[in-house]
Symmetry: C2
Subunit: 341 residues, 2 copies
């Protein structure tokens, strides 16, 4: 594992039989160099594992080649895999990724932004904390002209590029599946309705009931922070209702797990007596008994699209400021917790 | 959630009836200010939620108030909780944490260090990637006089402060427990022996067998990268042995889960026919059936100790360069997968 001699710009120049300054210009995306030469230089640089002196090149170009990613929490399979995918894409293009976590706190999110701006990042990729309902801290990023891309938890008000899944449609997939299984009283452990993604899941749930001619019973909607503990608590409340639900659709897998625990502790058969569906395909959903039906959010694809959108924004300064909103269709993964037929 | 007017140094001065410059000196830890005054200023600053202008104060003091944390992977309950705990401690003292992940790659770890140094961090807290066997990239940090603390996966050769659990002793706890349950042929899904923590787990396993007068059968030791997939593969190999094991001790929970899947697919009763123990108390170990016996690594405590050690290093420049090595005793959490009696 001892490192070999470092590749220099000269080495790349020798291979291609061009001058070192042409290599340098190509690497710095100088418009005087042809795209063909740029491609060739990039290819050889990759083959020889050329590593530019980042700090010197940042001083030269005013670029740090750093991208900051804000995650609401690192201990989530969804966020981990999205970040990994963002990193894979951006590393290939010479960017390094630094991560900060908000722990679902508005205050920490403000601090995260301040920290990332301090490190002179070339762009920020963020997903909002559950607590965040005011977005003025994001204006600071925009006012500095630094590309900002939101993923998963975004908000129209911020007015930036966004990539996520279709939360409204996801609830339709879930309700339709439960109706097919014969369920008629479908409860919803909903996320905090102040966040757009959870509001959309609630809207989708309500509209899908309507579509399938099922009455809306607001007693069956429980707003929750979607932790395991709160999933347990809200499920206990559902079981105390005079007219119990025959299905529970939780807007998060941990809340679904809390529900499952309470159902099992009360010897209620899943899915026979109460069917169960979660959201986001955390790995444990396929490991426990019964396995939990859930929604897959295309984690890797979201990361890839986010990275590509950032690269577009950062590479083409003249690009028209038309915001893009990319909404992926989610996928329902049907498992034992809801398969009644 | 609209932000109120920002607290200034003047506000703190008014409350304490001292001059703004005394407040500023106290906040910058000037030796001419008494400890009592510093305490009082810090308390009021916290109460009024005073947020210093980080960049300006970095320029003044040469400090960035940033601490970089390198994790081998973010999608691990152990690393997530350690980082969360480090962050809680350091935020209280005015430091912000940025995270980079090595994805178990030596090359990425080198890049992580370069990235963190570029952001002018005041210190680096790291846990080594599985691939890392050469440590020269860490010398760069030391040569700049930047505090470096290693946690969990460390290496004596680097010569810096270290906090982790007693891996050698942990294997003793596991083997002793399995012997008490009547197991006589205990297999070990070992981590890659190039890493010190896994080597220590292997050493502990071998010595504990000796202590309990059990013969050492090297066929029962399978080196593994400890992923779920590799846990499955190595368990299949164990089942093909003419003389099967009656227990499997995996040096990681995901490998233990892979083992459990193979045992269940082969209708082998756990723990009756083969008992199973994992390592690191990932949340799923308590959620699946049977629940998996495992080792708890005191995640939060490790994070807290790491943060405290960093603060010691950064606050006391005259502190004697005596390295501290803090080794915590791990805890065996006995669950259904190994309870035969």
């Amino acid at each position: 594992m001892k490192s070999k001699r470092k590749t220099t710009i000269k080495d790349i120049a020798n291979v291609l039989k061009i001058t070192p300054s042409a290599v340098s210009r190509a690497l710095n995306d100088n418009p005087r160099i042809s795209d063909k030469t740029k491609e060739a230089v990039k290819k050889v640089a990759l083959e020889l594992e050329y590593q530019p002196n980042q700090l010197a090149s940042a001083l030269r170009s005013g670029k740090s080649n750093l991208v900051g990613v804000i995650v609401p929490k690192t201990n989530s399979y969804f966020f981990s895999t999205v970040v990994e995918s963002i990193e894979n894409e951006l590393n290939k293009e010479g960017y390094n990724v630094i991560i900060t976590q908000s722990n679902e706190s508005y205050k920490k999110e403000c601090r995260n932004i301040q920290t990332l701006l301090q490190t002179q990042v070339d762009g920020i990729i963020a997903s909002l904390a559950n607590e965040t309902v005011d977005f003025s801290h994001y204006e600071k990023i925009k006012s500095k002209g630094i590309p900002l891309i939101l993923y998963d938890r975004g908000e129209n008000d911020i007015g930036v590029d966004y990539i996520g899944i279709d939360d409204y449609e996801s609830s339709h997939l879930v309700v339709e599946h439960l109706v097919e299984q014969g369920c008629k009283r479908i409860a919803h452990l909903a996320g905090l309705s102040q966040a757009r993604i959870y509001k959309n899941r609630i809207r989708g749930y309500v509209d899908a009931l309507e579509k399938h001619n099922l009455p809306l019973d607001t007693d069956l909607i429980k707003e929750s922070n979607l932790t395991l503990e709160d999933g347990r608590k809200k499920t206990k409340e559902l079981l105390r209702l005079p007219n119990r639900p025959d299905a529970i659709y939780a807007a998060g897998d941990y809340a679904a797990l809390g529900a499952l625990q309470i159902l099992q502790e009360n010897n209620i058969k899943v899915p026979e007596e109460i069917a169960l569906v979660g959201f986001s395909n955390e790995p444990f959903t396929s490991l426990i008994k019964p396995t939990i039906t859930t929604i897959s959010q295309h984690n890797k694809k979201i990361g890839k699209l986010v990275a590509k959108q950032f690269l577009k924004r950062v590479n083409d300064k003249n690009w028209k400021p038309v915001l893009t909103k990319t909404i992926l269709k989610a996928e329902l993964i049907i498992r034992d917790s809801s398969k009644k037929i």
